[in-house]
């Protein structure tokens, strides 16, 4: 009798568990289906097929295949967002990107961005072919080799592919520089060049340290710490941190660590704000190398991305004075979505805010003390921005 009861309870329990599991499985699928975005066709989408129907009937030339037209449609849709960093990378370029990374590929050393539909130089890499050819931050590229960029817009990724090629090969760029009436032609030979790391020294005739860093390698944070110790051991009384023509690079490291060197706590260095308005703070690293040393940060319109984060944090905490020109204003985060046909979608998913909630994307950061660098200065090899920084650190104003 007891055994029967026990058996029945067991069966009942088993049945209950089975039902519950069935329900859970059923519910999971239901949840997955329901949380998909609405699959309704946008209201005016019929226009798309109406237009294609007309093209099919009327167009004189050869109509590209449906895949090429679909990619065109995606590119156009993304253009409609008005964000230059949300782009489609088609399967072919995506593959070429891969092969370019291998083997004997040379480059000219340009950090690029698309601004107002124009392919713009953020900054040339120091001592790269582009730098030696005299290209500057803010220059607009209108032609790469035979490819006329005025006819069709181009993405940064496509441009980078065009600029790369075998070491020793030539590439010609036509540049438009604001203020110049004639386009500028720049011929360069592709090379492999080393990314600069940290350049640190005591400025001659002063007790001030000077550090110029690249944020493109993971090693920078350690090298920065080493150079900072080195300068401190030489008894520097102030520091010039040169972020001019610094396109940024890796995020969140090494920026958080370097910012922390100057701050007293693990303060917020940058805030990432997403589409829901959710703010995700990034805090400073734990090294505290120079919390009291007076600092000037040099910036210009080639200061972009992670370099703007660093400059913005030090400015907001009044930990440094920014001298130079307004920064570039590149402060958004992209994520990559692989698509089912082998292409990839780069989507801007968030934007960066400085600790005091200044948006970096767009206008960039304003210097505390504006000092321009003129063509005349460049030709005479004088650096009024650095001179102003030295002056400021000596006098405290």
């Amino acid at each position: 009798m007891r055994a029967v009861l026990r058996f029945m309870i067991l069966v009942l329990l088993a049945m209950l568990v089975t039902f519950a599991s069935f329900g859970a499985g059923f519910g999971l699928n239901y949840y997955l289906v329901q949380t998909q975005p609405p699959t309704q066709i946008p209201k005016n989408f019929p226009i798309f097929w109406e237009a294609f129907g007309i093209i099919k009937d009327q167009f004189y030339g050869t109509i590209p295949n449906a895949q090429a037209l679909t990619h065109g449609a995606i590119r156009g849709m993304l253009d409609g967002l008005g964000d230059p960093h949300t782009v489609l990378i088609e399967p072919e370029p995506a593959k070429k990107e891969q092969t370019n990374l291998k083997g004997n590929t040379g480059d000219v050393g340009l950090n690029l961005d698309v601004r107002d539909g124009l392919l713009t130089i953020v900054a040339p890499v120091p001592n790269s072919p582009a730098d030696k050819a005299g290209l500057r931050a803010g220059d607009i590229i209108i032609k790469i080799g035979d490819k006329d960029l005025t006819l069709q817009p181009i993405t940064v990724q496509e441009a980078t592919n065009l600029l790369r090629g075998p070491v020793g090969s030539q590439i010609t760029l036509i540049i438009h520089r604001i203020g110049e009436t004639q386009p500028i032609t720049a011929e360069m030979t592709r090379e492999t060049y080393a990314l600069p790391t940290v350049d640190a020294r005591v400025l001659p005739g002063t007790t001030l340290g000077y550090i110029k860093i690249s944020l493109e390698t993971a090693e920078t944070a350690n090298e920065f710490a080493k150079e900072l110790d080195n300068l401190k051991s030489q008894g520097v009384t102030g520091l010039v941190l040169d972020l001019r023509n610094n396109p940024g690079g890796l995020f969140p490291d090494p920026v958080l660590d370097i910012a922390g060197q100057f701050l007293k706590n693990n303060d917020v260095v940058v805030i990432e704000k997403d589409r829901n308005g959710t703010e995700k703070p990034y805090n400073a690293g734990s090294r505290r190398g120079a919390t009291d040393l007076p600092v000037v940060v040099l910036v210009n319109n080639g200061t972009a991305s992670a370099a703007e984060i660093l400059a913005g944090a030090l400015k907001d905490y009044k930990r440094a004075v920014l001298i130079g020109e307004p920064t570039y204003g590149k402060g958004s985060v992209q994520s990559v979505r692989p698509l089912s046909d082998g292409s990839a979608l780069h989507i801007t998913v968030a934007t960066w805010l400085t600790p005091k909630h200044t948006e970096i994307e767009g206008a960039g950061l304003q210097p505390d003390i504006a000092v321009p660098l003129t063509d005349d200065d460049i030709s005479k090899s004088v650096d009024p921005q650095l001179n102003r920084a030295i002056d400021y650190l000596k006098k405290g104003a």
Binding site: P37, F59, A66, G76, M77
Partner: protein, 401 residues
């Protein structure tokens, strides 16, 4: 003891199997009842079916991930159509959304509201070709060669020329601010211009001073151009000129029908002006009509790289029939016909529907029409306001060579 362990083990295994099985079963049943919605294709033709789902995949990701909300779906759809049309790789096929179409639509009617300057894109820079006489642009002091950097706050370099023009145009009485870069001036300057109704004269005519030669210029093959031409020609011929210079330089074309009317003034009736080939192989010969006013008078036609489309039709026909001597430089080489479709939501789709060929069957597209006598205009000529092409035409008509 061992039996106890065995029992626990069996119970555990049976439970796991039951739970997993039931869960999977539940999921499977649910998937049948609530299937994942297939990506909609919105009516894709069958040859698109394998490729188009990736569009909706991208669409969905954008709506899930993109940082700026809300997203304007209708803008994305117009962008999509535009992107598809651009993928045809034909610079003359073009999609215009309803709002923009409304602004640019009146172009060939002879009047519009704007500042009154003809412009073109030169290496991605919007360049003033010429301000129309007495227009707001003229009164504001704009000069040929000025580069427009910004319209209000929008940078317009690399922009589609129609889009840039749409920004500059606007209702009469409103103000537009342009940032201008002028050659040989170090810094750009800003000028504010009040828009007005601009009437573009299609035709200019006069007798050339000190000669007995008539001069007739067509700026654009617009709707009223044939009537204007007819009137002007009548007035010129009444003065009994010994020769006629017809100037199609910098005339970017216009309406195809008008080119037939224009050619008919100089050629006898029933002659083929152009051969039009459509995509399905249909060949159509368009012929002159009777009653041309100037079919005999010795004639020079002036052409240059800015003579395009309808201008090239007339040039090629007059050349093939040896009706005129062509002086200047090679024409642009746009030998295609566009049809402007109005879609159901009032957006516009301009599609290249045909290529045209000269009466002798010569392709114009990508080739252009070469002059009989080549005369170039140098920068020096421009700076000193000399016109060697016109001078050569006068010489030709005066001396016969």
């Amino acid at each position: 003891m061992i039996r106890g362990i065995l029992r626990v083990l069996i119970t555990t295994v049976v439970s796991i199997v039951l739970v997993t099985g039931a869960f999977a079963g539940g999921y499977a049943v649910s998937a049948r009842v609530f299937p994942p919605a297939p990506p909609p294709d919105g009516g894709a033709p069958s040859d698109w079916k394998p490729y188009f789902p990736v569009f909706w995949e991208a669409w969905r990701y954008v709506h899930q991930d993109f940082y700026k909300t809300p997203i304007d779906d209708s803008k994305l759809v117009y962008g999509s159509v535009s992107g598809m049309v651009d993928a045809l790789n034909d610079p003359y096929s073009h999609f215009t959304d309803p709002a923009t179409a409304k602004i640019t639509g009146t172009e060939l009617q002879g009047s519009f509201e704007g500042i009154g300057a003809t412009v073109e894109m030169v290496e991605g820079r919007l360049t003033i070709v010429a301000p129309i006489k007495d227009s707001p642009a003229d009164k504001a002091g704009l000069l040929p060669g000025d580069i427009v950097l910004k319209v209000n706050e929008t940078i317009i370099q690399n922009m589609d020329v129609n889009q840039a023009v749409a920004l500059i145009r606007g209702p009469k009485g409103s103000t537009v601010t342009l940032q201008i870069q002028r050659i040989k001036q170090p810094a750009p300057f800003t000028v504010s211009i009040v828009r007005d109704t601009i009437r573009t004269p299609f035709v200019e005519s006069r007798m050339i001073e000190g000669t007995n030669i008539a001069y007739l210029r067509l700026n654009e093959f617009g709707t009223t151009a044939p009537d204007e031409m007819n009137t002007a020609l009548g007035q010129l011929l009444a003065q009994h000129p010994t020769g006629l210079i017809f100037d199609l330089r910098r005339d970017g074309g216009g309406l195809l029908d008008v080119s037939i009317d224009v050619a008919s003034e100089f050629l006898k009736g029933g002659q083929t002006v152009l051969i039009e080939k459509q995509k399905d192989g249909t060949v159509q010969q368009l012929k002159t009509h009777d009653g041309g006013l100037a079919t005999d008078i010795p004639m020079v036609l002036l052409i240059d790289g800015g003579s395009a489309s309808a201008s090239e039709i007339v040039s090629a026909a007059l050349k093939d029939y040896k009706r005129a001597t062509l002086i200047g430089t090679k024409t642009f080489g746009k030998g295609s016909v566009q049809f402007v479709n109005t879609l159901s939501d009032q957006s516009e789709l301009r599609v290249t529907t045909a290529h045209f060929f000269s009466p002798k069957g010569n392709e114009i597209n990508g080739v252009g029409v070469s002059p009989d006598i080549e005369v170039k205009v140098t920068d020096d000529d421009l700076a000193n306001k000399r016109d060697p092409q016109l001078d050569r035409a006068i010489q030709f008509l005066t001396t016969g060579q």
